[in-house]
Symmetry: C2
Subunit: 245 residues, 2 copies
């Protein structure tokens, strides 16, 4: 469906603008994605916005045309509006922008198909958003199924151990305790690479629960690597060990 | 030599305080290092301050006592002063602090002994101080001789190629052009791992000058890793390839 909006007080405009607040995102279960590049990334992984908003008079663009067609074909809505109203929605002064509204999707552990990938990254209490971004990029590079941010260990571990499903999974961490050399260790898919907090490392009980503790050469004065670096060095070794490289 | 200073207008106090400014550091060829931990790190790698400054009444500490003795034995100066004056020098309100004055040392390429380590990290136009810190930490972990920040390529390349010395060195970069798999590539010591700028990667002529171009599996949508991550994955592979792990 296509629609044109010209009034600032239009309820749709108000609603879209409200999604800039976490409170409203939480309440509605929807969120905004801005920019053709991100929208195209989402489309190419099978995620379409329920609503697409752009300014009238925007330059034609093949990717955008395809996106529009896909949204309409999926029963979504394409809204054109004035550059001013678009700016009001996004809070930015960019008339070339495109905004999509997405339904949140299920990111619970129960919704994960662990057999979908040989490697998964698992982070416990990461603090630095930079490290998070770096790990997402590394996960992409090694073909990881995803980055699991452990909210509650008491939820993660039973899920990993399969409950009724018994579908397995090897939990691996870099460790100094009771560890084997990371190089050529007996990795098995699906391999869950567990990375600890930047300053504290992994709690002892997390390490104890691992199927495999590996150690990397540390030839200098420091006794650990940057968390995202350790995850990457280990992930590439696992990739090779599983014969997936 | 040991000295006690109690006056704010003492010329030594004024001089030490001036070293907080880049301009004065540059002019004097000296710089300040604050805190026992950093001073101890420096001492343990053979660097002693020419002058050590601490507040009178500071708690006794074995490491500090050893540092003081070493400084005096090396002909340096140990100054005790009031907590107020120390705060004036450091700009911080910490009476437990210790400050050392160091002579700058020669960090030119000509002063490098490349045979001192099997691995060297080389960065071109790194932008992110976080990546720089991560690479230093990685370099420490793999036993790298150092992190070389290329100021001028026209200076680095002739130095690497040995000039009159002909002492060799293999230049390696992660690349998509004309590259072999990074895993098990023919690495040779001293191996110089060249890492490009975060957003631009390496200029083509830099890649062309490499003795070995290697490629890492990139299974996802992105075509590169974070610069510090790429350096680390490669450095650990080189370490194993050289039989140094």
């Amino acid at each position: 469906m296509r629609k044109h909006i010209t009034g600032f007080s239009n309820p749709t405009v108000k609603y879209l603008r409200s999604l800039r607040d976490k409170k409203h995102r939480k309440r509605s279960g929807q969120f905004l994605v801005e920019g053709l590049r991100l929208l195209e990334d989402a489309r190419s992984t099978g995620r379409l916005p329920t609503t697409l908003v752009m300014a009238e008079g925007r330059a034609a663009h093949d990717l955008l045309a395809r996106l529009e067609a896909d949204v309409v074909a999926a029963g979504g809505e394409v809204i054109s509006t004035t550059p001013d109203i678009l700016s009001k929605i996004t809070g930015k002064d960019n008339a070339q922008s495109v905004v999509g509204v997405f339904d949140e999707w299920d990111t619970s552990l129960a919704a994960l198909d662990r057999s979908a990938a040989p490697i998964w990254l698992v982070a416990q209490a990461l603090r630095d958003p930079g490290n998070l971004g770096t790990m997402l990029r590394t996960g992409d590079a090694v073909g990881a199924g995803g980055l699991i941010l452990i909210a509650r260990w008491e939820e993660f571990l039973p899920w990993l151990r399969g409950g009724a499903k018994q579908d397995g999974g090897q939990l691996v961490a870099a460790s100094l305790r009771d560890a084997v050399p990371y190089r050529g260790a007996a990795y098995a898919a699906p391999c869950f690479i567990l990375v600890g907090n930047e300053s504290q490392g992994l709690p002892e009980e997390y390490e104890a629960a691992c199927d495999l503790r590996v150690t990397m050469p540390m030839k200098g004065r420091a006794d650990s690597l940057n968390a995202a670096v350790a995850a990457a060095v280990l992930a590439y070794e696992v990739l090779a060990g599983l014969g997936c490289d």
